[in-house]
């Protein structure tokens, strides 16, 4: 896939194949068990192929990933998205791609996904609130999509928007944030092979509370950058406004790279606690760029990260 060969990571650098296969078998078991517990329609396997970008860490269970969410369109409680996201209609789904692209237009979900190889990317996920998870996402590289629509010279940023549909997303009737939820990336961040458009997890279509049908995942940034239920992607030459930065620029920067050395003004970012460890789970040190330093540090060379937080 795009950018793959620019990266010096190698399959064998990450995991010996035997260990990898072993882990996948374990995981498939865990996933099936979790799904068995959560009653629901039998979902189609997406058939995602493994990726060398996946971490070796133990993924959180399906139940954990789908019951503890920040998706303020459905309320500010961690359990609200699981409770209310059911109301969201995700079929049909259209994503408008516009701005500095060769092929602007309204793309249906099927248009977007057709021809893409879905990969399983097991990524660490670090929320700005100092909790974390490990999630087996399914998706394709954003770079593949951008290359397909043709990024024009001069484009420097990619802007994203979440659906606004207060009839289905009840909390949008309240001014918790300025809707629509907006996010953005610098073009080189967007083109990095770690950056994916995720359409599922645990080899199942994306649960609604996790941002169905299609969301961004940028694993080295705080979770709020990984915008959910995307309906618009725009290529621009100016840094786009982003929701949390608009609300409180002193607390949330445009970059929002995971960085244990730059605290949120109201709490420390030095440590985090992985969800699912029970009442006696200990915090662990947060890693620079959430552990993806080798892959992304070069994007920020020469930048003062305490200023561009």
């Amino acid at each position: 896939m795009a950018g793959r060969w620019k990266n010096d990571l190698n399959w064998s650098d990450i995991t010996p194949k035997a260990a990898f296969l072993n882990r996948r078998q374990l995981m498939a078991g865990a996933g099936a068990a979790a799904l068995g517990g959560a009653a629901g329609p039998a979902l189609a396997d997406l058939g995602a192929v493994p990726s060398e970008y996946s971490t070796d860490m133990e993924p959180n269970t399906f139940e954990e990933i789908t019951s503890y969410n920040n998706f303020y369109e459905f309320g500010t409680g961690k359990g609200d998205p699981a409770e209310y996201a059911d109301a969201l209609t995700i079929d049909p789904w259209t994503v408008t791609i516009d701005g500095m692209v060769d092929k602007p237009g309204d793309y249906s979900f099927d248009d977007l996904v057709s021809g893409m190889t879905l990969e399983e990317r097991i990524y660490r996920f670090r929320c700005v609130e100092a909790w974390s998870m490990v999630v087996p996402w399914v998706g394709f590289e954003l770079a593949d999509l951008l290359n397909r629509v043709g990024v024009q010279d001069g484009a420097k940023y990619v802007a994203f928007e979440t659906l606004v549909r207060p009839e289905e997303m009840w909390a949008q009737k309240r001014p918790i944030l300025e809707w629509p939820y907006r996010e953005g990336l610098r073009l080189d961040e967007a083109m990095n092979p770690l950056t994916i458009m995720a359409t599922g997890l645990y080899d199942e279509p994306m649960p609604k509370q996790n941002g169905a049908p299609i969301r961004l995942v940028v694993p080295w940034k705080y979770g709020f950058k990984s915008i959910k239920s995307i309906v618009k992607i725009s290529l621009t030459d100016k840094e786009p406004p982003t929701t949390w930065n608009m609300l409180q620029p002193s607390e949330y920067g445009f970059y929002a790279n995971v960085n244990p050395n730059v605290d949120h003004p109201r709490w420390s970012q030095a440590t985090e606690r992985k969800v699912g460890g029970g009442l006696f789970a200990k915090r662990v040190p947060t890693q620079m760029f959430n552990g993806y330093e080798e892959e992304v540090a070069s994007l920020y060379e020469g930048m003062d990260l305490s200023r561009y937080y």
Partner: protein, 204 residues
Amino acid sequence: MTLTDRVNAAIRAVPPWCLYVVAPVPAAWWLYLGLTGGLGVEPIKALEHELGEFALQLLILGLAVTPLRQHLRINLMKHRRAIGVIAFFYVFLHLLAWLLLDMRGLWSQILADIVKRPYITIGMAGFALLIPLALTSNNLSVRKLGPAWRKLHKLVYPAVLLGGLHYIWLVKGLQFEPLLYMAAIVGLLLLRWVPQRRRAMARA
């Protein structure tokens, strides 16, 4: 017998020690839920939230005792001490949940947070103000301190305000719940002031 009379009779029928006996029940229940998966997948945060929110509710109930008597003739005076002491107990448990579960063992981060994080500093200040009140919530202290006791216990006003501010400060985005709590606190404090003013004007 009016409804108010009946309510007051029911309140009088409850001996204060009953409140102390049932006070630990919610805490024990949440702890049990936390240990058995009933508080969700992040039980530490959930426990911290339950304890903090209940503490704030009890503090607000304590503030409501006087206005309830003055404006609705509902008399909770007999239980005011128990309400206050139990509220303190829950603030303390809330602090313990933070120290022993949330920040377990990270002493340098704990100290840094207390001085550097405004919402923690404010919460700590609220807790600190409540300590002398809890220590003097007994008949001996009331007798010994005399009029100074009443003055000392006015500290509950800033303590509850700090608790409410702590909640507003820690949430992300514009959320209504903490603002509602703050509105209740401010409202209850203002209610104390209103009738006094009326009386003062009547005298003039």
